[in-house]
Structures are given as C-alpha cells and as structure tokens.
C-alpha cells in the first residue's frame, strides 16, 4: 500500500496498557508527549521516571521505562536520590499533580529546584484533587466549587491559588521553568516543545514544565466544556509563558559575593 503512510502511532515508550484516566482527562496527552520526547531523543534506555500519588499513581503502568513509584509529594526527593546515584548520562523525571506538588510536596519541590537538581519535573495543574474525589487543591481558583469548598473557594479563608512556576522563578538555580496548557492542538504542540526543551536542558540543572490540565469529572463538565473552562478561567490566572531559560538567570546570582569568613 504505497500511498498509505503512518501519521500517528503509539510511542514505543508507552506500554500497551490501556490508560485508566477518565474521558477527556489530559493526563493521557501529557504521557504521550513525554513518551514521544524520550523516544525522539533516543534516551529510553537512560530514562528513569518517578511517579506520584494522585490520578497518575499508576503512571508506572504506562511508561515503558524503569520507574520508581514515590510517596505522596516526595517525587522530587526520590528523583534527587536517583539523580545523585545514577551515571550522569541518565535522565530522571518526576511527574506530579497539583495536590502532590503544590500542597503536601511543596517543601520537596522548592528544595529540589533550589539545589538545582538535574531533573525534570512535569507538573500537571488541573486545580483540583482528582483521585480522592474532587477536593480543593492549592491551585483551585477563587470561588471555584469543589467537594471541600462547596460555597466556592473563599480566599479570605483559604488564600489565593499558588502559582508554582512564578514561585520557583524566584530561585536562582533552576535553568528552565515554563507553563503550557493541554487544552487545544496549538497548546499541545507547544507543550511538547517545552517538555523537549526541559529534557534537553536537564543535565544543566533543574527544569520544570507546568501543564494546565483538565479534570472533567472533578469539575463536573464535559470534556469539551472543560477545555473552554481551562482557557477562560485558568489561563488568565496562570499565564502561559516561559519564565526561565538559559541566559536569563536572575540578577542576584551574578552580583552576590558574600563575605564568607565565619569560622575564621
């Protein structure tokens, strides 16, 4: 059949296991993009994944990679342990959701970023706890109804959503921080580029890609409405941009030379 060519196929970095994710959930897209990047870079035999607790707790079923399943919030610490133990040519990435990374794991992500760990963290932000049944997350939008904010997120009680990328961008050592979205094809194409950039820069230091994602089940919306909801509600609060890339280290890093004489 000379006129038929393959335009889309399952990446060999994904196993043949069927995703358990809800219809319209964007985890599947994120998995595919990572798998394609690993495949295109030819690093399947050198890549180790760290999976979180949350909806993607079973991600180890889907990546045809060596995988370590981490405790809730601790993926950056586990990735640190791997990174500090494995040969330098290995690639280590952690995959985390917003409850995992921005709530229980806030300490681990900040400090892994601050140490400049040579890892990539892919952060799926869908503004809700999906796995446990749609509770309020640190990234839940003001006024947004969840099962633990039935009257809408009250910022007087709960504060405003945490902008992780912006927060990490205050640190000196990360080499790449970017936010993308998985809500429409042009964003998905861009998201893959961001993931690729992060992996390519990983051996220079800490790299971070936040991906705005949907949770049709948790949000109580259809998959299509979820995509629109993401763009209309999340993007204005979580702007899509590259916050950090090589050559754009914060000013402080270059000019701060402290007097270190402590112990004489």
């Amino acid at each position: 059949m000379p006129n038929i060519k393959t335009v889309f196929e399952r990446s060999e970095v994904l196993t043949s296991n069927q995703f358990h994710y809800c219809p319209g959930c964007t985890h599947g897209i994120a998995h595919r993009l990572i798998a394609e990047v690993v495949s295109e870079m030819g690093i399947q035999d050198r890549t180790i994944a760290v999976c979180p607790v949350g909806c993607s707790v079973l991600a180890y079923e889907y990546f045809d990679l060596d995988v370590v399943q981490a405790a809730h919030g601790r993926a950056p610490a586990v990735a640190t342990g791997l990174r500090r133990s494995l040969p330098e040519d290995r690639y280590v990435f952690a995959y985390q959701g917003d409850g995992d990374l921005a709530s229980i794991g806030m300490s681990e992500i900040i400090h892994a970023a601050n140490r400049g760990e040579k890892i990539t963290v892919i952060f799926l932000n869908n503004a809700i706890y999906g796995m446990t049944g749609g509770q309020m997350a640190p990234t839940t939008l003001p006024g947004m109804v969840t099962t633990t904010s039935p009257y809408g997120r009250d910022t007087l009680q709960c504060g405003h959503p945490v902008r992780m990328s912006e927060m990490l961008n205050t640190l000196v050592d990360p080499v790449f921080i970017a936010r993308g979205a998985l809500s429409q094809p042009k964003h998905v194409i861009k998201a893959k580029k961001l993931i690729r950039q992060a992996f390519e820069l990983q051996h220079q230091g800490f790299t971070f890609v936040e991906l705005l994602s949907t949770c049709p089940t948790g949000w109580g919306l259809t998959p299509t409405d979820s995509m629109h909801w993401l763009e209309h509600n999340m993007v204005p609060f979580f702007p899509l941009q590259v916050f950090r890339e090589p050559g754009h280290a914060p000013e402080a890093a270059n000019h701060y030379t402290p007097d270190l004489k402590v112990h004489g």
Binding site: D66, G81, S107, E108
Partner: protein, 373 residues
Amino acid sequence: MGYDANLPVDQAVPSPAPERLLMKGAEAIAEAAIRAGCKNFFGYPITPQNEIPEYMSARLPEVGGTFVQAESEVASINMLYGAGSAGVRCMTSSSSPGLSLMSEGFSYLIGSEVPTVVVNIMRGGPGLGNIAPSQGDYLQMTRGFGHGDQKAIVLAPASVQEAVDLMSLAFDLSEKYRNPVVVIGDGLIGQMMEPVTFAPTVQSTTEKPWATTGKPPTRKRNIINSLYLDAETLEKHVLHLFEKFGRMEAEEQRAELYLTDDQPEIVICAFGTTARIAKSAIKVLRAQGIRVGLFRLISAWPFPQQAFQTLVEPTSAFLSIEMSMGQLVQDIRTQVAGRKPVEFWGRTGGVVPTSEEMVAQVQKLHHKLVAQG
C-alpha cells in the same frame, strides 16, 4: 623525683595494632559506612547525631560519593528511597523525632523492597523531649516503625567497635534481604570515644537486577513500587515479605550472654549502653556472691529468642533494665510466658542509670527471691 620519660618516641610507644584509632562513636559509624561501600548520605541536622552528617559531608566527596543535606527527614528518607532504587549503598542518620518523620518513607522502603541503612541515635522523648541518651524508641523501631504489615532488622551496638562492625553487617543484610536495616544507638555511643579498627573498604558485590538504572532493550522495565490495588495481589506480596521476615527471624538473631552459665539467680536483660553499665553492676554483685548474668540483645529485631530460651529454665528471675519505661520487658515477658518472674526497672527522660542503682535493684529482687524461697 625528676621527670625521666625521655626515650625516643618510636621505642617508648609500642603500637600493638597500627590501625587502632581513637574515635567518637558517631564518626566511627560514618567511617564504617564508607568502608562498607556507602556512596550516598542524605540527612537533616538533629542533635545528638550531627557528627555523622558532618563527617559524611567531609569524607564522601573524597571517595566519589555524594552528601546531600535534605530539607527535612521526610525528604531524606525519600532521597534514600531513590538512591536505594538505583542500587547504590546509601544511608541516613537521625534521632528519635526525625525517625518519626521518616516512618512513612520507611514503610515504602520495606513495601518496595529497597535496601538501605538508617541510623537512629535515640534521644529523650516524647515530643521534643531532650537530647540526652534514651532507649525509648525500642518498640517503635522493633515493630518496623512504619504503617502496615512490616518488619526490619534492628541492630543495637554497645561499643564503638561493635557499632563499626554492625554498620558493615547492616549494609550486607539490607542487600541480602532487600529490606532496610536500622542501627540504633543512644547519645552515649554517639559521643563516646573508644579505640576502633576498621576492615578494609569493600564494594557491594550483590547483583541488583531489579535496580532502576535505565531499561536496556534486553530486559523488561524495572518498577520499584509498593502499590497493589487488588487485595489478593497485595496479600500475596505481603506474604512474600513475611517469608523474608521469617528467614530474618531464623537466621539473623544476635545476642551476647555474659556470666549466664552457672544457673543464675537473676539475668539482667538489656541492650546498648544500658547493657554495658549492667556489666559493671554484675561485677560488683558477683563479688557479693549473687549469681547474676546478662542477656544482651545485639539484634533488637529479630529478638534473639534461640539464645534467650536456653536461659529460661536455669534462671530464677529476669530483670529488664532500660532507658525507657518498660518496652523491652514486653518482649521478655512474651518469651518467658509466665514460667519465671520478670521484673522491670528503668530510668527515662534522658537519665542514664548508674551501676550503683542497678546493683540496688538486683539486690532488691534477690532479697525478694530469697524470701520467697
């Protein structure tokens, strides 16, 4: 009389063992780990064990290893989980409150079968307690100290040399069983200096085909995981773990029996520093004609029951002496199973019992036994 020691130094100071070094327990533990092939250390400062991370931060770079000061004990144990998954020898050390923070991660290490070594230099509790020596974590440590059905070998050195020897054993056992191993000491062992000798540095020779080092095309992917959503699958996994725990219980019991061969009237049961102090008391009591001996646990888990059971028949009574409020005594009572009297005496809050106090306690129990005929 004048001063007359002016011999040349090399003649005047015969060196019985050239590699004998006077070292602090904490530093000796760290050096022993490095000699055992430990490549990575992850830890968070807490007294009274800071000499271990301090020593590691200086020494590990010299041997091509890595020291990471973690942001918390929670992070340390999870870094250990990652490093152990990669198959390298690695460790952390902490003190009681830090171990409480590590308990979730420790359960993951067991559930996912990741070998590693955790040192607990125990301090006074509960809560913030204090930084004085304690054995108040005995029950917490010997029951596996995380959630779920789980166990881990716990080694309890009583001298700096024994701490050195047990560190090396701890790494070997952790790899033999693919299970974390805990070494427990108290602040006394950490701070005390004693002469030690080290074995030459070794590298792990254990094959680790399960390690997550990157999947070559020639094998299936390796997954380090403790999640088994299906109940029967998890049960099967736990039964597999318990088959290992059973082998540990059969093969890894360690104890020291001191002056227990003459049908002792009283056997003191103790471990660590407390057992050492008890030896001083026993010397005094023996001179007074009381037949008293010592059962010292070297493995706090598995409880060294094979050795202990040989004592139950010939011994008249047991006295558990602890730096806690009666934790070890629970295991002693289980082992004795009502056949002989079992009593407890201890100090807590970081108070170190003296040999004089122990002598008095044994005398009291002895009077009671004599009175009862």
